[in-house]
Symmetry: C2
Subunit: 334 residues, 2 copies
């Protein structure tokens, strides 16, 4: 297994990126290309006893910043660690690319400049993997395609299914379409048209799912257009953060509460762990012609290691090929 | 002040409805028409010492159920307490209508069969009023119009502004457009077109607001199409409920947590109160030609009283007239 890792991806790069590579190389024996500024990477590597580890530094002149505009970096930073790392996959030198960097930039560079799309894919989608009701839920699109067509959303459902089955090990995963209810007058035109299209295909489609169904695990793949998906995730984060802050404020309001709060500290830590999206490590960019896993900019070394592990599982599950075949199958049915 | 109250609205009607009317008549001296099944209402009224209160029963043959389809009851239940109550407003016998009943039905009956639209209004909108950062935020549309046009959304902004100013007493309230961010590539076509239209008008429009801005009170009126607005509210509720359930489960996990949980019981009650949408009482149906306040089906008598008080404030603030004038003004500017 050969993984190209963007060593310049995380907010505090290359520290957690290199640390995660060292962990993954040691634990799983993967050959890892550390792509980025050679001097910085080598300086960071000197902190580790890594003589026997299969790590290889690949220099890249430029770095994509979290603040870079996705629309411009594809052309303006062709020497970036993202370009160089993805091209290792395109040229068959690596099996997958992993980055903790700018999600929008990774999407644009992969789709338009390096890996390009899997034949048949209309639009690649950004996904997220969330811990829900004790297992993982794949949600897509999280922002790549604000105005989507029913056919794209159906492809998102297929790609999510393949990933959930082949990389996450879910048996016969269920696709749900994010909506505001199943009753008459619910959904909008896009939802109704997409629902009709899903019903024509032999996918494991369970229909519209409301937000309350999503959080109780009524489906394993949640499909939405990029605008709605992005709002959903941001609303979830904002709500949880609002509630957590309100609890924190009220605990400080009187001494008895403060004692209760101290006793509940480990409890709140467990709650945080259960509702934290970090645990998974990263999420796939689905539809581009190569395995790409994008992790969070605030990842630590363990999260980077987990993202690398995820990329390897997607390669082992032959996700790209399975998407290509699956797309042909749903194309034939229609 | 004469209020027509749907006595058959709440889930346990007419108990909290009549109770709320008794409270409001006693506290504020409003003349309240109790509209619904005369026998049931009179039986319920006998529980109270209400000889001197300005309460009047108006019989209505039919009752709208929470499960009734909004699309059919307008015609199939013309004798409902909603029809009869709203017609009291239409005919100038009451100043406002208040119901704890089926929101979709109230919208359909008001818009198409009884009050109809204020001249110039493209689409009436369902609103919600939420406690945010210590004050009230008006959110609309919450579900009446799934596929909306920029011009409708701009009208929602104006109607929300008038309500926030004239009925809630907010000084120069700020309009925000719910989106997923202001950066390049954010929003969808509808958002971009609506944003452009808002910027042409002399409303106090502050631009796109993300979910995290909404919960920190970055705007006083949050505008969205009915599909997105409905998903936003449902996602908020689902997230808060998921987090609350997770905390509850983890508190039961060990004895120390359980003691901490007992000590925090009043704290959690305060948190609940601060994040509970019930406190406000109800929300206006904006754009129909008369004041209509819709409360929650699970309202108790105090919530019904609050909804009646809200309706009176909207009448005192001359909300309907102010919307009519405001619409003419923005129409002239364009």
């Amino acid at each position: 297994m050969r993984i190209a890792l963007d060593a310049m991806g995380s907010d505090t790069c290359p520290v957690p990126d290199v640390g995660g590579a060292v962990l993954a190389a040691g634990e799983y024996g993967y050959h890892i290309y550390l792509v980025g500024n050679e001097l910085q990477i080598k300086a960071e590597l000197q902190k580790y006893d890594r003589a026997t580890l299969p790590l290889e530094v690949v220099h890249a002149e430029q770095v994509i910043l979290p603040t870079d505009k996705p629309g411009t970096v594809g052309k303006s930073k062709v020497g970036s660690s993202m370009h160089v790392g993805m091209n290792l996959v395109r040229d068959g030198k690596a099996d997958a690319f992993v980055t903790m960097g700018n999600t929008g930039a990774a999407h644009a560079i992969a789709t338009l400049f390096t890996l390009k799309r899997i034949p048949g894919v209309k639009r690649p989608a950004l996904s997220g993997i969330y811990p829900v009701a004790g297992q993982h839920v794949v949600m897509l699109d999280l922002g790549a395609n604000a105005d989507s067509k029913p056919e794209w959303l159906v492809q998102f459902g297929l790609m999510g299914t393949v990933y959930a089955r082949n990389a996450l090990g879910l048996h016969n995963p269920r696709i749900g379409l994010l909506s505001n209810g199943e009753e008459e007058g619910k959904g909008n035109q896009l939802i109704r048209n997409t629902d009709a299209l899903f019903r024509q295909l032999s996918l494991n489609y369970v229909g519209n799912v409301e937000p309350k169904d999503v959080v109780r695990g009524a489906a394993d793949i949640i499909v939405a257009d990029g605008f709605l998906g992005n709002i959903f995730v941001k609303t979830f984060e904002a709500s949880v953060s609002l509630l957590a802050n309100t609890i924190r404020e009220e605990i400080k309001a009187d001494p008895v509460s403060m004692i209760g709060g101290l006793l509940l500290k480990p409890t709140f830590q467990r709650v945080r762990k259960r509702t934290d999206t970090f645990e998974v490590g990263g999420a796939p960019l689905l539809g581009v012609n190569g395995v790409v896993i994008i992790g969070h900019g605030r990842s630590n070394a363990v999260a980077v290691k987990n993202a690398i592990r995820q990329a390897a599982r997607a390669v082992e599950g032959d996700v790209i090929n399975a998407i290509r075949i699956g797309l042909q199958e749903i194309q034939q049915v229609r």
